[in-house]
Assembly symmetry: C2
Homo-oligomer: 285 residues x 2
């Protein structure tokens, strides 16, 4: 039931890398979605060693992206940072690097221009990532984040970009929080097929919490109907891990082990039963 | 420059109907988008008479909709209320009734079901509206309102529904705040063509204000690039009024005449120059 569960470590944000790894082991969670901030604090080689000792699978590294700067220096630095992220992902044994593409630069209203820069950045990075064995995973974010976080807002749009690249080099992330509202979501999940690099789950709360960046809920606390989405992922052939990724200030105020326990319970209740059968063996660090 | 400007009266929410009509006259605003709440407070026949005396054009009546109740009694009442709204629109000489279709009923996760009920309600109401000479104007709302306000979230989706009905009976509303982020917006505006029943403008603020229902800004205060959207509306043949509709608590705290003056200024600065040429003569009350 938990064979494909991954704890995205931002869900237990206040846990150090050390605590998150040990927490996964204690809860029987077989995989973890890692954040660069935590890797940096714990050290890359220490993280790699600890993951190996814990026999914990890495489902993704979060996150690269932020490709939309129009200033040339800022743009170069963003690309350089993404290359470092790709290197880290390779060392960690992550199958993919999650990309949040970036919003409009401050004072800029040129949305098509920002979107072109995303495509240009991907074209620069894809060969580098491919050489490192890392798949770039383009994440459409909910349209309410378009101005500030990600000018890629729908699965259709993400696929339109990703499909210019070989399927094994550039994929997309399906995150229930970002895509549940989309009238086209089932069509696009089917279209995505082998492009799906990661499946992330959290719930949409009603009313929407005031801080939009911390508006996600545990599965079952909101209004997302998970079974049809899970069935669509299975029908599309997705056989990877399923990351529980929840940004929520109330949740974060609880002790990490309570959060992890809740993640396991809600996963078993709402998601796990749909994904009992197959499992992709991700590389281990 | 102002020939097609309409003040949506929720922009000057605290003005009574009387004050709004006089305010439009004073500012030289030739049209008004009327809200049922204000009509009710002032009286329908008094409103009709005052509008006629003021020679003010009505661009729309706001709002009908809220079609998603699954409880049969609530559903019957919603349909009855929409028929009353259609009657009011006819008496007011409004060319269309704006429809906010409704979100998920409390405790309900069946989004496709809610969407089916929208289509069913339109099928029931369209003949009634047609007989009254009122066009139903389906408004896609930003996806962040999908759960609580409108399960119709994109122009493509709204058109997919509207196109089952004669173009003169069911149209769509293009509201910059709701559609600016959509990678498909220009294609869909072109597709909409004569289906466009109303064009509404306001700006997307960064950062997004905490109250999502009051998150809109005056044109120029946010990040929406208006010229391409205006050009797309013109290319689509839209020749109706342009409503400035802004829900914003800070704006509402200012005296009504200040708001109206600001609306005129910002309209002339950002919108009016694109719409100098043609104007549809809407019926006068």
């Amino acid at each position: 039931m938990m064979a494909r569960l991954s704890l995205n470590q931002w869900t237990t944000r206040h846990w150090t890398m050390d605590e998150a790894i040990e927490g996964c082991v204690r809860e029987g969670i077989p995989a973890i979605g890692i954040w660069r901030e935590h890797v940096q604090a714990y050290g890359l080689s220490t993280t790699v060693r600890h993951l190996r000792e814990a026999r914990l699978r890495v489902s993704s590294l979060c996150r690269g992206g932020f490709f939309t700067a129009s200033d040339p220096a800022a743009r170069r630095e963003a690309l350089a940072d993404n290359r470092r992220a790709i290197d880290e992902a390779a060392q960690l044994g992550a199958p993919c690097l999650a990309l949040v593409v970036g919003g409009l630069p401050a004072g800029d209203r040129d949305l098509p221009g920002a979107r072109r820069r995303v495509i240009d950045a991907l074209a620069e990075l894809a060969p580098y990532a491919a050489a490192a064995g890392i798949r770039l995973a383009l994440e459409p974010l909910h349209p309410m984040y378009c101005a500030e976080r990600a000018v890629v807002s729908t699965l259709a749009q993400a696929l339109g970009i990703a499909e210019s690249f070989p399927v094994e080099h550039v994929g997309v992330i399906v995150d229930t929080f970002h895509v549940w509202w989309d009238p086209d979501v089932f069509t696009q999940i089917a279209r995505a097929g082998a492009r799906i690099a990661s499946f992330q789950v959290s719930d949409w709360l009603v009313p929407v919490p005031q801080d939009l960046l911390l508006a996600r809920g545990l599965m079952g606390d909101g209004i997302i109907d998970f079974p049809p989405l899970c069935r669509a992922l299975i029908a599309a052939g997705y056989d990877g891990d399923i990351e529980v990724e929840i940004f929520n200030a109330d949740l974060w105020s609880r002790p990490g082990h309570e959060i992890a326990t809740a993640v396991v319970q809600r996963y078993i209740e709402h998601i796990g039963p749909w994904f009992k059968v197959t499992m992709r063996e991700a590389p281990r660090p």
